[in-house]
Every structure is written in structure tokens, then in C-alpha cells.
């Protein structure tokens, strides 16, 4: 049931994206979107924050990386 709910949500989101998928930005026009300011954090800080949230909130996963590993507590 949980997996079905998640799959349904993903399908809905992908459909939403599909509506805009016909937009093609040429390579020469991608300078702005490659700026690091478009990212939430660099890799070093992102993994530190992810570890903190996974440990203190007991709700890891779903962000493109593996969950678990190491105590972290609250696993």
C-alpha cells in the first residue's frame, strides 16, 4: 500500500513534468542553470546535512541517496 501510494505520487509528478518536457534549452543557453547557486548545497555540506536530518528525524531516503549506514541513532 505504501509503495503504491509512493508510485502514484511519482507518476503524477512525472506527468506534470511531461507537460513541459517539450522545452529544449540549447547548450549555449545553459550558463545560468549551471551556476552553483542553482544547487541547494555543495556535495560536502549536502551530505553533512543529510546525515543530520536522517539521524535527528528518523526519516531518510527518497532524496536519491542510500539510507542507513553508521549508527546516526534514530535509525
Amino acid at each position: 500500500m505504501l509503495a503504491l501510494r509512493a508510485a502514484a505520487m511519482a507518476s503524477a509528478l512525472l506527468l506534470l513534468v511531461g507537460l513541459d518536457a517539450c522545452v529544449v534549452v540549447p547548450r549555449y543557453a545553459r550558463g545560468i542553470v549551471s551556476d552553483p547557486a542553482m544547487q541547494p548545497a555543495d556535495g560536502l555540506y549536502a551530505r553533512t546535512i543529510r546525515k543530520l536530518r536522517g539521524a535527528r528525524e528518523g526519516a531518510a531516503g527518497g532524496d536519491g541517496v542510500a539510507a542507513g549506514g553508521g549508527c546516526g541513532c534514530g535509525q
Binding site: 509512493a6 551556476d35 547557486a37 544547487q39 535527528r56
Partner: protein
């Protein structure tokens, strides 16, 4: 392009010893190609060892360090929870104080055949690591260190796809962990969209030291994750990312030294979780650039649910503002709310069956939290349009406050430099 590379020639780092290790890695995954593992003349890391005096471009090295970064983050945590036995107050909650220093180093390596490696080496140094646990019985874990080696090898497979190999290990007091995973990254629509799929496994082997110091011998926990991330360019200034993940766990899932106070006082009972757990999460993130004012906005939402009955929602926003070509300031806010698992309790009835699932861990309680961050970044080596190859120094501070009294103050200092 050639001029830029020429200018950087004298700054290249050559790492012969690592080349030999990379050869072993590439061979072990069955994708090794002709590889010259001969170390440089002095046999160790050297700078400018191969620089040509006339400034000509050098031939491609077997393995080069493209980027290197390091970051130190310190955490100061205070709070009180029923699972803690340290300095218990009149309400029955013990101290959750802990101070953590977390240095991390990172490097991005590229082999001549195009295979790349992203390697992280985080170290956690904790004081009062187990204020809610072992130190009540013994001071053996008053100070604790942990080490992790976490890498991802990317193997190109044509212009629009690549295979990903995740590998690593984690070592700390009472716990050893190994991790591995396989994945694929696919580009679509002239690289306007990207899909990344990963399957990972983590095996934790640890001593389940109980709240009263009793060591029950080795036990294990196995975690399997399947994650997907889809990113799409919506315009020249807008990107959208979607994430979906499923995580299954079996084994000893509870933190073994946590415990629940017995009803009426005078004793405690060790945490006991169901032997398996299935978690899922979905996330969406939108990033928008405003070139006229050099402002970048991000917004995200994340939904989480598991078979323990816990549901969580998180929303966050971020603003990054360039003050000059080389300097930005950034602020962010995140709100998170979560429900508790069905077996959360702050006291364990004395008449309950001994195998009744239970936890008083404040991390699993129903709570709200606010996370506020601010940071500065100075690009000292921007080289034109800023990119993930730009060198920088960054300073940041974050406040993390939960409705059940836990507070964390974080300070961070990091830098990155590019050699190639």
C-alpha cells in the same frame, strides 16, 4: 579552452600511487583498460613533476585530480528526551547534549578512459557521544570517532548514459558498516532531462550494548534502498527535480542503548522495534534564476511515510544573491513536521508484555522543527561563469530547533579548488 588548460598546466597534480589503486578498482569491476600504473619519478604525490618548461599542453595523465574540497562543520546540540539517562530532570527527561566536529574531504578523480570517481572521507569526532546511553554506565564512549569512505565511480556508456557504482565502508566504536550499490544515469532531450536510478545496500554489524551496559554480542541491520531522481530544464533559468525513494530495513533496527522509563519510576526497559521497516519518500524541488538582479530562488517539498505509521512533510526555501561576480550571500528556511510511530511512548507499563514494541526516542516523537541557515561564499577562482569547477571559500551558520526542546547550532567552513 586550450589557453585555459595551458594556464592551469602548472597547477596539475599527479598522483601515481593513487593511479595504481584506481587500476585495481577498474580491474575489479571488469572494466579495466590498458593502464600505465608506473608512479611518477619520486613515487609519491608531486606538483609540477611533469610540467613542460615551454608551457605546451601535456598528454592526458592516467589519473588526474580534477577537484579537491574540504569542509569542517561543528554541531552543538542541547535538549532533553525520555530515552536519555543522563542528568535526568524532574520531568523524567535526560540530557541530549553532544558536541560534534565533522571534517570532510572530497576529491573528484578522472581516469584517462573517462571513468570518474567522487570520493568522500568524513570523520565524526563526538564528545559525550552517548549521554543518553553508555556513559551512564561507563565513560568508555565519552569521546568517539567514526570514519567513512564513501565513493561513487561513474563509467561512461556512450554520450547519453553512464553506469554508477557506489562503494564504501564506515567504522566507529561498536559498529562497522559496508555499503555498495549500482545505478544508471540517462540523459534525454539533448541533455535537457536526466534520470538517475540507484539501488543500494548497507550492512551494519554492531554490538547492541544495552542501556544498562549489558553487551548481547554482535547483531546486524541490513538496509536496501531504491532511489530515482529526475531532473528537467524547464527554461534557460528554471530547473525542476523530482526524487522518489523506497528503503527497506531488516534486523536490529532500534538504537540498542535507548530505553523507555517504566511507569511509576524506578526502572527502564530497552527499546524494541519491529524487525523490519519500509520507508518511502517523494520530493520535488524547483530552482529559478533571475538574471537581472543576479538572484537565485529555490523551493522544495518532501513527503515521507513508513509502515510504522509515521508521516512527515517538509517544505523549504532558499535565496542566493550575488553581491558581485565573486561573492554571494545565501539564506534558507526549512519547516518539517512528523508524526510518531505507533509504538512511541514516554513510559512503559509494568504490566505490558515484554515483547511489546516501544521507544521513547525523541527523534521519533511527533514534532515540528525549524531550520534557518545563512552563508557567504567567495569565489577566488571563478574562471568566467561560475560552475561546479569554480574554486571558493564558504562560511555558514545554521540553527535547528525542534518543538520537543532539542536545539542544534551549526557552524561550517569549507573550500573547493579545481586543478583541471
Amino acid at each position: 579552452m586550450s589557453a585555459a588548460r595551458g594556464a592551469r598546466t602548472s597547477r596539475r597534480l599527479w598522483l601515481g600511487v593513487v593511479s595504481a589503486s584506481a587500476l585495481s578498482l577498474a580491474s575489479s569491476i571488469g572494466l579495466g583498460q590498458s593502464f600505465d600504473s608506473t608512479p611518477p619519478p619520486n613515487g609519491v604525490l608531486s606538483i609540477d613533476a611533469f610540467a613542460e618548461p615551454d608551457g605546451r599542453d601535456l598528454p592526458e595523465p592516467d589519473l588526474r585530480i580534477d577537484r579537491f574540497g574540504a569542509r569542517l562543520t561543528v554541531f552543538h546540540q542541547t535538549g532533553r528526551g525520555y530515552q536519555s539517562q543522563a542528568d535526568v530532570d524532574a520531568s523524567g527527561r535526560g540530557s541530549e547534549f553532544v558536541f560534534i566536529a565533522n571534517p570532510v574531504i572530497y576529491t573528484h578523480l578522472t581516469q584517462r578512459d573517462g571513468i570518474t570517481h567522487d570520493v568522500y572521507l568524513p570523520i565524526d569526532i563526538l564528545t559525550s557521544a552517548s549521554t543518553d546511553a553508555l556513559d551512564v554506565v561507563s565513560t568508555a564512549s565519552r569521546d568517539n570517532e567514526s570514519f567513512t569512505l564513501d565513493g561513487t565511480t561513474t563509467i561512461p556508456d556512450g554520450d547519453d548514459s553512464r553506469f554508477l557504482v557506489h562503494w564504501g565502508a564506515h567504522v566507529e566504536e561498536e559498529l562497522k558498516a559496508g555499503m555498495g550499490g549500482l545505478g544508471v544515469s540517462l540523459d534525454f532531450a539533448d541533455d535537457n532531462a536526466q534520470l538517475v536510478l540507484m539501488a543500494d545496500a548497507v550492512v551494519d554489524i554492531f554490538d547492541p550494548v544495552q542501556y544498562n551496559g549489558v553487551d548481547l554480542g554482535l547483531t546486524e541491520r541490513v538496509t536496501m534502498s531504491i532511489n530515482g531522481t529526475f531532473s528537467q530544464l524547464l527554461s534557460e533559468t528554471t530547473t525542476l527535480s523530482l526524487g522518489l525513494g523506497l528503503t527497506g530495513q531488516i534486523g536490529t533496527i532500534q538504537t540498542p542503548w535507548n530505553s523507555v522509563p517504566l511507569a511509576g519510576g524506578g526502572g527502564r526497559s530497552a527499546d524494541l522495534f519491529p524487525p523490519s521497516r519500509l520507508r518511502s519518500a517523494a520530493s520535488i524541488r524547483l530552482a529559478q534564476a533571475i538574471p537581472q538582479s543576479r538572484t537565485f530562488l529555490q523551493a522544495g517539498y518532501r513527503f515521507y511515510a513508513d509502515d510504522y505509521g509515521a508521516i512527515a512533510h517538509s517544505v523549504e526555501g532558499m535565496v542566493t544573491q550575488y553581491l558581485s561576480d565573486d561573492f554571494w550571500i545565501r539564506g534558507s528556511y526549512r519547516y518539517h513536521t512528523q508524526g510518531a510511530p505507533f509504538f512511541f511512548m514516554t513510559e512503559f507499563p509494568r504490566t505490558a508484555w515484554v515483547r511489546t514494541y516501544r521507544t521513547a526516542d525523541s527523534d521519533l516523537a511527533a514534532l515540528d522543527l525549524h531550520e534557518i541557515s545563512a552563508g557567504l561564499r567567495y569565489f577566488y577562482d571563478r574562471q568566467g561563469q561560475a560552475s561546479d569547477r569554480s574554486g571558493y571559500v564558504e562560511l555558514g551558520y545554521s540553527y535547528y530547533g525542534r518543538s520537543n526542546s532539542l536545539e542544534i547550532h551549526m557552524g561550517t567552513l569549507g573550500f573547493q579548488t579545481a586543478f583541471w
